[in-house]
Amino acid sequence: MALMEILVYPDPRLKQISEPVEEFNDDLRSFIEDLEETMRNGPGGVGIASPQVGRFERIVIVDVSSKPKIKHHGRLILINPEITAYNGFAVGREGCMSVPDYTGNVVRAEAIELAAQDEYGQEQTFEMEGYEARAVQHEMDHLEGLLFLDRLVSRRTDLFQRKAYKKAGSKK
């Protein structure tokens, strides 16, 4: 196990699009161990994407289980993840290990459905919401070369509209 160096914006590599993982081998699993260790070493880090350490493959790790009182799936290894459904909108505050000393408000889907492979290539699907769904969307953006800075909304944007949005959505 080894900590890896996190790329920090304005490193142009953070804007690179990552390639799908083709081979599910020991090299991949060993890299995932290092990636997870690097994520857990970051201050408050609940997610990481492979391109953040300079490996441009579609690998994301999310674990929001340290946060109290939220729904979650524990430790998630998401390889070649695809969001298959988006529901509702929510504004929330995000920061990023690749963008130190700045946080900003970002609109994300309140709930998502997700298909991904695990570190053995096994297909899995998830339904998730709230903080965990936000973390997954943030990390998956890295795979497209997007940072939360690409999605900032005004600080004035209402952080309290989530429930209103939900209500509006449920009428459909």
Binding site: G44, V46, I48, G95, C96, D101, T103, R134, R155, L159
Partner: protein, 169 residues
């Protein structure tokens, strides 16, 4: 800290910042906003000279835009953001006293305000006051919530408080 205030018109930001750039300044964090028809700028400026020299650099362009200009020598602390962990939203029929009541209550309950924005909306006959506050507290949010609930009841304003839980990815 360079402060500029005057009647709003198009081009203020572009003209002021061009002048600063051409004079070798580097800009830091800034807040620029229109308040009641006035344009206001508070801006950190890194400048190798005295506050007086900066004032006379900006002076002519500020005069031409009819902006009042003020420079304070400050210590510029960048890369030390304090992250807010609480957001408060308040609104109600406009009257004198809302801001001091709300912020007094919050200060007493242990909130340090990092950012406050307020607007007067509604009609001229029935103005409403809308305020958003971000701050940091080491207290339980329930303590602030309870204090605000009392205030809301007694002073007839709507208040909402919610944690800001930063997702660090």
């Amino acid at each position: 800290m360079l402060t500029l205030v005057g009647k709003d018109q198009p081009g203020i930001v572009a003209k002021i910042t061009s002048c600063l750039y051409e004079s070798g300044c580097n800009l830091g964090e800034a807040s620029m906003t229109r308040l009641g028809g006035n344009f206001t700028i508070m801006m950190m400026v890194k400048f190798d000279g005295t506050p007086e020299a900066l004032e006379s650099t900006v002076g002519p362009i500020a005069d031409s835009l009819e902006l009042r200009c003020h420079v304070d020598l400050i210590e510029g602390n960048l890369h030390r953001h304090v992250e807010p962990n609480v957001q408060v939203s308040v609104y109600g029929a406009d009257r004198a006293g809302i801001v001091c009541e709300v912020t007094g209550t919050l200060a007493e309950a242990g909130l340090n305000i990092l950012n406050l924005e307020s607007d007067v909306g509604g009609s001229e006959e029935n103005p409403i006051y809308i305020m958003r506050i971000e701050g940091v507290t080491s207290q339980e949010i329930e303590k602030l919530e309870d204090a605000l609930a009392v205030l809301a009841r007694e002073k007839n304003v709507e208040t909402r408080i919610s944690p800001i839980d930063v997702m660090m990815g």
